[in-house]
């Protein structure tokens, strides 16, 4: 059974993948600002997914 944080982490990884692909497409079309934006969104999604899924001490 998938827990809610795991589902959220998976969604963030999928979102990161979509953002990375959009960034690549923008980069290929020489739209650098849009590429940087989508790559930044993808990186933030990946970081959030790892933070969300990571177990650890109570903060």
């Amino acid at each position: 059974m998938i827990q809610l944080p795991d589902a959220l982490a998976i969604s963030l990884v999928v979102g990161a993948s979509c953002a990375f692909i959009l960034g690549e497409l923008a980069l290929a079309d020489a739209e650098d600002l849009r590429a940087i934006y989508w790559l930044a969104v993808g990186t933030a999604c990946v970081r959030a997914a790892v933070h969300m899924g990571r177990p650890g001490a109570k903060t």
Partner: protein, 253 residues
């Protein structure tokens, strides 16, 4: 003690194939890693080096370097049984450096407009298989397993936990899809940048999916959903700002 260890390790090993298959297995295993890697190496050479050397802009130096690369690969095959790892290293560097010389003296043939997507993917696959076969040959013969600790048998690695495979397969598929983007870019520098970004993005996706999959098996303790949200709050706020900014920018444009 050692006898019991050796008997237990031999019991754990899979039974060798019998008859003709066994002889073939031993013969191929005795060839060494360069011989096994030479098949994907020759494929990578045929897909990425030879077309450059014998393209319209490829000069004599490119052709000579391409032939040197092929000779280095064959020399590694012949020399490995006699000189071992020294022949393997010399063959690897000779093959890679001669291929690099071919590409550097005929850079125009590497322009993305001259390489279609299936051709590029085949070359990438060939070089990846060459590196994999050289670093970890699939057949290593019936030799004694090298022990790091003599005192006790080492515990086997854990099998892939149930439910992890979909995470890793899904991430690998997404990473492969990322490699399909940007094969028709005109400029060399931008094409290389797109490939580099696609590779980095694919690795980041696989790493994140593996982290999420592994984290499911760790003891969560008493960490609540709220605590985990609070822990990732900074990144989530940054993500929210980025998405909101992008939305406003799109509405304005």
């Amino acid at each position: 003690m050692k006898e019991s260890l050796s008997s237990s390790s031999s019991e754990a090993d899979p039974a060798p194939p019998a008859g003709v298959a066994r002889r073939l297995h031993e013969r191929v295993s005795a060839m060494g890693s360069v011989a096994q890697a030479s098949v994907p190496g020759a494929y990578a050479w045929a897909a990425t080096v030879a077309p450059v050397a014998w393209s319209r802009g490829g000069g004599a130096l490119a052709k000579v370097a391409a032939l040197v690369a092929l000779v280095a690969l064959a020399a590694g095959w012949i020399g490995e049984p006699r000189w071992g790892s020294r022949a393997r290293v010399a063959s690897l560097w000779g093959f890679v450096m001669a291929s690099a010389v071919t590409w550097s003296v005929a850079p125009a043939a590497l322009a993305p407009l001259h390489i279609d997507a299936p051709h590029g993917l085949a070359g990438t696959l060939g070089w990846a298989l060459f590196a994999l076969a050289l670093a970890a040959p699939s057949l290593e013969g019936n030799r004694e397993p090298a022990r790091v600790v003599d005192a006790e048998p080492l515990a086997a690695r854990r099998r892939l936990a149930r439910g992890d495979a979909p995470y890793l397969v899904g991430a690998a598929v997404i990473a492969a899809v990322m490699q399909l983007v940007g094969w028709r870019v005109a400029g060399v520098e931008r094409a290389l940048l797109v490939r580099f970004v696609a590779l980095a993005a694919g690795l980041a996706t696989i790493d994140a999916a593996a982290s999420v999959a592994v984290a499911r098996h760790a003891r969560r303790g008493q960490v609540s959903m709220r605590a985990r949200l609070r822990r990732s709050m900074a990144v989530l706020v940054l993500l929210g700002i980025l998405l909101l900014g992008g939305l406003l920018f799109a509405l304005r444009g």
